[in-house]
């Protein structure tokens, strides 16, 4: 069952998943889009309870993510797994710290730092020492600034057109994301790849792909 935000991002993700899930052997029992912002997820929880899917795939922003996951918890609904795609709360340390029970065993396919990288580890310690959580906003913004700095240096200029040209031809790889060498096509980094994380205890572990894995996946969700 898919539960996306009814906006450009959520609708696009839901369409993409419908297209990809069925050929991969999944039956999509229903898609339940919801408005953003949303103040109540009890109807969706009731529908999930009635349809009893093995897997719930939410895709929404942080605030809706928190309310959705807490509603499922309050309604005692526990599918075999919740696997969010670019989920707002599912791999956020803030949500884990605030609602550790609701966060347990959540999986999320999302952008994430290379857990083997020493630079990422050092940056995380620095962010946490400053009282911040090491969230996407921190490591993706940091990476974007480093990417821009590399482009400015290679352009040897602060002219907008020259920086854009340097970005478009970038093969920058000195970062801590699991992307390898940058490859920009039509403004998109086609070398970018997500990882799959799962909340286990007080940590967010990488469970896939194998080369970045820090822990094995826990599936199904323990009773």
């Amino acid at each position: 069952m898919i539960a996306p935000a009814n906006r450009t991002f959520g609708s696009f993700m839901a369409g993409l998943m419908r297209k990809g899930l069925e050929p991969a052997g999944f039956e999509v029992v229903d898609a339940l889009p919801h408005p953003t912002p949303n103040k109540d997820f009890r109807n969706i929880a009731l529908k999930i309870k009635e349809l009893n899917p093995d897997l719930v795939i939410p895709s929404h922003y942080y605030n809706e993510g928190v309310l959705f996951l807490r509603t499922l918890q309050r309604q005692r609904i526990q599918p075999k797994a919740i696997y969010s795609v670019l989920g707002g709360a599912s791999s956020q340390y803030r949500f884990l710290n605030e609602f550790p029970k609701a966060a347990q065993y959540l999986m999320d396919c999302n952008h994430w730092f290379d857990p083997r990288s020493r630079t990422a580890k050092a940056l995380r310690e620095k962010a946490e020492a400053a009282g911040k959580t090491f969230s996407y906003e921190v490591f993706l913004a940091y990476t974007a600034v480093m990417f821009t700095a590399d482009a400015i240096e290679r352009a040897g200029s602060t002219e907008r057109a020259e920086i854009i040209a340097a970005m478009a031809s970038s093969t920058w790889s000195d970062h801590f994301m699991p992307y390898g060498a940058t490859s920009i096509v039509n403004g998109q980094n086609e070398a970018a790849r997500p990882l799959v994380m799962q909340v286990q205890g007080k940590n967010i572990e990488v469970i896939s792909p194998l080369e970045y894995r820090t822990r094995s996946a826990v599936f199904p969700h323990p009773a």
């Binding site: 339940l32 889009p33 009890r42 969706i44 009731l46 309870k49 009635e50 928190v66 309050r74």
Partner: protein
Amino acid sequence: MDILGFQIPTYGWQTVTGSAISGVFLGSIYALVALGLTLIYGVLHIINFAHGSLLMLSMYAVFFLWAGLGIDPYLAMLLVVPGGYLFGYVLQRSVIGQVSHGRDEIILLVTLGVAIVIENAALFFFSADERSVQVPYDLDGLDLGVTFVVYPELVALAGSLLITLGLWLFMTRTDTGKAIRAVAKEREGARLVGINVEHIFAVSFGIGTACVAAAASLLAPTYAVHPQFGYLFVLIAFTVVVLGGMGSFVGALAGGFVIGITEQLGRLYLGESLGLITISVIFILILLFRPTGLFGQTPH
């Protein structure tokens, strides 16, 4: 099920009953927010656009009392309700009353301006981050079979009933309540018999703000607060006030339940987004067939 070419999904009775019950609890939240709004409209004839911002501000007060001093959101009511009253009183006396010169169009713009200032101040000082209160009884509650109702939802329902009763008693049994009603009915007449109309205006605005502060305490265990939080409920609260009848507390309560249940059933059958249209349909029907609302008085 196919109705006029539209595919309407069918659900088991447990889901439908659970949805209707959830509508009662959602309706109690609407009623909580609408109670202050209807008081301010009923007396001052002000459509208070700042109501949502005041709700948001009260939520932040509850959050910081919890995060900084460890005060439970329900206990925080003892501080935020008097604080809300004082804030509302001063706001009306020193800003809205001073600037508006009694002209409705200016009052509308002033409350809108106050809302913009409060929201942007919240954004500046508190950032756009959502902040949640965590309470130990968050997951405890009653299993009704078709749905599980947690204590924060039950307390919000009880709170909306008690606040309605309290306001009704206050308005009918106290001298201040009678003065408020007198000012609402005949401003000049009230002034002639010695009522300080400006003070009563500020008192009414203060009580309306205190109501929204109480609502904030009751909502805090369920909802995270952020600078745009007020919009989630206040636009629907306006519909609740129109449905119940401007200035009617019982109407706000009944209107909240009607809107809550209709919205939940609408969202169940029409989908989470399209289902919201049921609120607009009710609003239009009320304006067409009973513009004074369910419990509103017909002007003579």
